[in-house]
Amino acid sequence: MDFTTIEYYQWFLPCTFILAIIANRKSKNLRIWVLTLMSYTFFWYASGWHFLLLAVSTITDWVAGKKISTSTEDLVRKRWLRFSLFVNLGLLGVFKYLDFLIETLNLVTLKIPESPEIAALGIILPVGISFYTFQTMSYTIDIYRKKSKPYKKMVHFACYASFFPQLVAGPIVRADEFKKQIDSPMEINPTVIRLGLTLIIFGIFKKLMIGDNISLHVDYIFSDGMPLDNILLVWWGSLCFGIQIYCDFSAYTDIAIGSAYLFGITLPENFDTPYAARSPQDFWRRWHISLSTWLRDYLYIPLGGSRGGKRTLFIALMGTMLLGGLWHGASWNFILWGFMHGLLLLAHRYMILTNWNITFSEKFAKSYLVIGWFVTQYFVFMTWLIFRLENTEMMWRSLKTFVAYDAIWDPVAAWDNLPEIKIITCLFVLIFILGHGISGRIGGFKHWFGKQNPLVWGFISGILLSATFLYQPAETVDFIYFQF
């Protein structure tokens, strides 16, 4: 079960909503119990026995948090923090990176005579492990740093760690933000419920109608035998993938935030029109915000951040981006993707340090913002090729073509090489670009229409749901971020 399956809307969400309301009338604690049990039920349907890993992570950080907060000895506190990091990173290491490590080791030792080949374990990646381990780790770290206090009851913490809307693919919520909300009684506010429904409808529309349809072009273009020396085809493929991954992931976030609203919980925003960003730094302030801020607070700043000179900055920035890339998946592609973004951020930082950007903006006052936007997005979309293409040969070929090296310009061949449904996909891309631009200007289209009167709201919602039903492809594509 996930946010695109009918079961979620047919029984899971309504049942949980009704149970939570009933429980809320009895007591706050009972509501939290209900939410926790239903979250585990959701996780059981989504990932089977892997819910045990969530339980291990929860118990570990609950105990560690308690011990750290009650102890006055630094050594003890540090020991419990290490214990928490060891368990959480250990789970991640075993379930996410062990096979990757084995494969890399085999690759490295390939040319060493008589070196044994280690068989990969074929471990299935537990859904959402990267998200909930980061979330529970941050809880322990914050207590260790004395930035926050532990939850009073274990079930409250379990609810935080497992809260089903954001369990599988975020947004990554900070323990304090969640605690404030779960501690107060659930308020059934029709306006908030309608806003929640708005976000859910908008998410479904973005995922099933825009993202999944565009993904058909991506899969087709980046399949074997396609002429990837055609620059228009590669640009189109990269543009489509950029739109697909945004629609896919931001749709998940919308549905997560919308679902959480139904239970009186406000989750943080994860996206802020990222394709309107005018610099690499701006991009990371708009893309996967909850991860960016997590990496900033728990990795970049502890590594020295921008306070310790150029060398520290380089290490902190590149280290954060490399690990951020690796967080996405156990593959060299993601490391390279993180590295490329690290380079972009460093280049941008270099421009700021040398005041080059000020000189440039003075010289080209009118076109400065446009050029900034274009250059940023050009590189962002280029790096999507690294993110998408696991086949190394195909990736290098596409990258070369993307930068017009050894590439051909053939619009007719590019058009002919697109899948059967061409015009509609082009229209969806256009709708996305317009919607993204307008949404950026008015501060979120979904929030605007969530506040409209019943007639307008009902009409727009009806149109969006009808269009989604009519245009959804035969097969729903799995959420991309489920694999992380």
Binding site: P190, T191, I421, P454, W457, G458, S461, S466, L470, Q472
Partner: protein, 367 residues
């Protein structure tokens, strides 16, 4: 929760539901159905043209005769010729037969035909149509049931749904929700075609016998009377590649080995349903045994087609309907020149069929 807030939430959801319910079924129908009939989404739009055709016939109040059946009826029935020969003023003759059809699939169009005001219906009882339908996958049946039922309405439902074998039931869309879901699968492709036309990017389509004019156009009514007929592949084989003897010994012999059953098949049940429903609607029914190539008969074993003979006899007796048996009783006069292959008539054959049938149909129309 305030009363005002709750009211606003409920009315929002109500408007949303109304929009969805009114938009999706109508949109899918308006976009998909014409392109199916036009043979753009399927190989031959005739497989889905029955409902539109019957509606057009119903709009015309003149005396009308409709022929239903398989490709044998489809290639035999020339409504224009009959209209010209007929002595009944303003009478119209419509060919609604569909290639590869059989009573089991024809029965889907009977409720609509029954209420169309048609006066006479020619029902083909073919020796090759009286076979046992088997449960299990069948591409043709899946296609026919799917395409026909997804563009139907509730008024098209009837007892025929109970004749459909349990395995085949899953290919029927029996309510508006199911029909909308089924049409949705064709919706995106249909939109793409419409946009291709809008931007003038559509590939040139071959205009051949598969072409169906737009329902409601002037050509449409002509098409219902005199559809396009394909040239027979066998015809070419026979006349260009093989000698007649060679053809008789190979193709014809193979095509004569079927043994029609006497009763108990779904095709028999469908025939009974078709006849009884039409009679109940005060429509004259004529059972027609189609003509076969004279060279076919020597290849039949004695009694091989008894199943067909008994079926025709039983139906005529049970329902007291007229019978025209070109297969046996009136097989004289059908010669090689009338056929494009072992089963199907050519232009000359159609004229012969027209000349022989029209007087009988006139008498029924006049009565």
């Amino acid at each position: 929760m305030t009363r005002e807030g709750l009211k606003s939430l409920i009315s929002s959801l109500f408007v949303c539901a109304v929009v969805i319910i009114s938009i999706t079924p109508a949109f899918t129908y308006v976009v998909v159905q014409p392109l199916i009939i036009e043979s753009r989404l399927v190989t031959f739009g005739r497989y889905a043209f029955a409902s539109e055709a019957i509606d057009s016939i119903a709009e015309d109040e003149s005396p009308s005769v409709v022929g239903i059946g398989s490709s044998m009826m489809y290639k035999a029935f020339d409504g224009k010729c009959m209209e010209e020969l007929s002595g009944v003023e303003n009478s119209k003759f419509y060919n609604l037969a569909i290639p590869a059809s059989r009573p089991y699939t024809d029965m889907m169009q009977i409720p609509r035909l029954s209420s169309s005001g048609t006066d006479v219906v020619l029902v083909e009882v073919g020796s090759n149509l009286l076979f046992q339908m088997s449960e299990g996958p069948n591409e043709y049946l899946e296609f026919r049931f799917t395409v026909q039922t997804m563009i139907q309405e509730n008024a098209d439902l009837g007892a025929w749904t109970e004749i459909v074998l349990p395995y085949h039931q899953k290919w029927l869309y029996l309510n508006e929700y199911e029909r909308t879901v089924a049409r949705q699968e064709w919706f995106v492709e249909s939109n793409e075609i419409i946009l291709e036309r809008l931007f003038d990017l559509e590939d040139e389509q071959d205009i051949d016998f598969r072409f169906l004019p737009e329902p409601g156009s002037n050509e449409w009514l002509d098409y219902l009377q005199r559809p396009g007929w394909p040239a027979s592949v066998i015809d070419n084989e026979w006349k260009r590649k093989m000698s007649m003897d060679e053809y008789n010994e190979t193709v014809l012999m193979k095509r004569s080995n079927f043994e029609p059953l006497e009763h108990g098949t779904r095709n028999h049940a469908a025939l009974e349903y078709i006849i009884s429903e039409l009679i109940e609607a005060d429509i004259e029914v004529v059972l027609v045994g189609m003509p076969h190539h004279p060279h076919k008969y020597p290849y039949l074993d004695p009694g091989q087609w008894d199943g067909y003979n008994h079926t025709l006899e039983n139906l005529a007796e049970t329902y007291d309907v007229a019978v025209v048996d070109f297969t046996w009783q009136e097989k004289e006069g059908w010669v090689n020149e009338h056929f494009s292959d072992g089963n199907h008539l050519d232009d000359e054959g159609r004229d012969e069929f027209c000349e022989r049938m029209t007087p009988l149909l006139d008498s029924l129309l006049e009565s």
